[in-house]
Structures are given as structure tokens and as C-alpha cells.
Symmetry: C2
Subunit: 182 residues, 2 copies
DNA sequence: AATATAAGTTAACACTGTTAATTTATATTC
DNA sequence: GAATATAAATTAACAGTGTTAACTTATATT
């Protein structure tokens, strides 16, 4: 998985063959099939690792504040920064077109857990009467769309004449929060 | 291009081989290479066709109203709906990492032209004193991030238990506009 | 020492995008 | 109308892909 992740990150999922991975770890290609159902499954398991780290980071940041809106703001920022700090990995997990039904068990995966951190803090905000809408699911997904949008745009279209990175990130976060605040 | 577009949309870019396209149009696979440099070029040209229509659609929608905020709202909606209606093509232009040499193309591409329609209507909103920030570029890119985010999430993570599609789209648009309105 | 099981490999299949050489069809000249 | 030039399309082939089934080697258990 370490070898595969490095190669996926460096060269892209589609450009890394099972034989290349096998060469790197000194095994034959078919040996990988003893431990992973197929190439998609290999990617899926790597994604789980990354999801788990992201969820952990966000939870750690939530500990630093008691103000729900502050927690929300810093959580959103951590998500974006996590993506920008590990652009290749973010690309693989969140941007790279997922070849098949890789997400069929999303319900129980670490991806769901990462998203749950967002849902949790939104619930706190609603409980504290800080928002003007009280549909947790709807707001969570709306915010996710916003932070995923800026992250993936900055990663992908690096040569587009964006305004300064930190200004854009702040603007997205500020706009989103201003848009839902009571 | 018609045959290829249909198949890309129906089955996904990766699952359509040059031979399958050739079969559908009654030619041999290699004939396609007389008219397109390679498979990516074929898709790229299909995208240009489609996104010329997007820019056209948005401009047409702007004609239907004089209220800048209404124009903005309906333009954002059209962008998202267009992406959802042409997921394969949206994917290749805005999501899939492009080879380095194509990137300069983006400056003059029809996708960029679509973004310019956004910049134009934002300028109108600022001129009418409807927004609380008056940096055209910053706001345009912030909104682009938001609508790109929801579009790409809905396209790529189809198995995620999203709330009803139209509700999420509305929520993103409402939140963004509420976040920038004066 | 014999056997059962785990781990890994080889050979092969049915594909893929793509190139080079070759054939077939159409147009242009004599 | 015949000969030639050009355009259009094809066939054969290459090097690669994910993946399966059959086989071999290593390790553990009796």
C-alpha cells in the first residue's frame, strides 16, 4: 500500500500498473491479488487511510476551542489546508474520478467519519442558535461543497490567475459562514 | 464526435475504447487517428463544443432579467445544471488533471469564456451596490469555487447519501449569495 | 519424514491506445 | 479514357493493461 500510494500520488492512478507496483516491491504482479481483490480495491484501502488521518486532524482542532462557530471555521480551514498540503493525496481521494462502485460502503468508511466531524460541529452551532437554517445534513453538504470547490480548484488549475491563495480561502470560508449565520 | 460523446456520457470516458467508437460509426479504430491526435484530443474537442454552448446558455439567461442579483442567481444555477447534464465533459474540462501543454489552451478555451460571464455579472452587481465586498475577482472566484464544488461532488461521489439534488444546489446558491449580499 | 497449508510465480487471455506499412477510393492531369 | 497523384481507410503489429487459473515453492503442522 505504501508503494502504491507513492506511485499513485506521483504518477496518477491510471498511469500506474499492477506490474509497476509489483516491480517496486519485488513481487510478481499477481501476488497483489492475494491481498487485494483488484486494483480498485487497492486504491479504496489507500483512500481509507487518508480519510482517517483527515478526520483525526479535524477532531484534534475541535479540541482547541469551545465556540461552535470558531470550531466550524477552523475545521473548514483545516480541511482546505489538508488538501493543499497534500495535493496529490487529496487528488486521489477526492478529485480523481472513482472508477467504479468504490464508495458502495461509504456509510461505514472513514470518509463518512471525516464528514461526520463537520456534521457534529454544525449540530453544535444549531443547538446554540447560531444559524438561520437548522437542517444539519443540508448545511453540512453545502459547506463541504464550498470547501471542496476551492481546494480542488487551487490544486487543479494552478496556473489560473487566482487571487492570493490565502485570501481566496478566507473569502470562501467567510462567505459560507456569513451565508448560514443567523 | 457525436458517437463518441454519446458513449462517453453513457459509459464513461475510461470505459469507451477507440475500437468501440469505431464499431459504432462503421470505421476501423485507426481511422479516428486521421482526424484526432489521440483519445484525449477527441474528448477535448467534444468539450470545446459543449462549453461553447454553456457560455451561450448563460449569456442567453442573462437577457431574461435586468436585476443583477437575479441574473447572478440564474447564471450560477445554469452552470451547475449544465455540469450535471454533461458530467463526462465537465469532468474532463474542470476535474480531470490535464497534461501541461493543454493548460495554456484554457486561457482561450470556452470554459474560460463561461467564467468570464460570471465576472461580468458580478461587476454589474457591484456597480448597483448590491454586494458588501467590491473585489470582482475575489468574489467571482469565490462563487466559482462554490458552484464547482457542488457540481463536482454530485458528479463524482454519486454514491454518497446526498440530500435531494435540487435542494443542495439551491442551498449552495442561496448560501453563497447570502454570504456576499450587502 | 510426511503431509497440509500458505505464499508466490508463470503462462495465458482478452483487452487497451497507438504506430507504420499497405491497400483502396477519389481526384487531377495528360 | 489511361496514367498518375492524392486522399481516405485498413490491416498487422507493438507494447502495454487488468486479471484468472494452474502450477511451484516455502513454511507450518502432524
Amino acid at each position: 500500500m505504501d508503494a502504491a500510494r507513492e506511485m499513485f500520488v506521483a504518477e496518477g492512478y491510471a498511469n500506474v500498473s499492477m506490474r509497476k507496483i509489483a516491480d517496486k516491491i519485488g513481487y510478481s504482479a499477481t501476488t497483489i491479488y492475494l491481498y487485494f481483490k483488484d486494483k480498485n480495491d487497492l486504491l479504496h484501502q489507500i483512500c481509507e487511510q487518508t480519510f482517517a488521518r483527515l478526520a483525526q486532524n479535524i477532531k484534534a482542532i475541535y479540541m482547541l476551542s469551545d465556540n461552535p462557530l470558531e470550531k466550524l471555521r477552523s475545521g473548514l480551514r483545516e480541511y482546505i489546508h489538508f488538501g493543499l498540503k497534500h495535493p496529490s493525496q487529496y487528488e486521489i481521494v477526492f478529485i480523481t474520478p472513482l472508477p467504479v462502485n468504490i464508495e458502495s460502503d461509504f456509510e461505514a468508511s472513514n470518509g463518512r467519519m471525516a464528514f461526520d466531524t463537520l456534521r457534529t460541529v454544525i449540530t453544535e452551532c444549531i443547538a446554540a442558535n447560531l444559524l438561520k437554517v437548522n437542517d444539519v445534513e443540508l448545511i453540512s453538504q453545502t459547506l463541504w461543497a464550498g470547501i471542496h470547490g476551492v481546494t480542488s480548484l487551487l490544486i487543479q488549475h494552478g496556473n489560473f490567475p487566482f487571487v492570493e491563495r490565502e485570501r481566496l480561502v478566507d473569502s470562501v470560508i467567510d462567505t459560507l459562514i456569513a451565508g448560514i449565520k443567523a
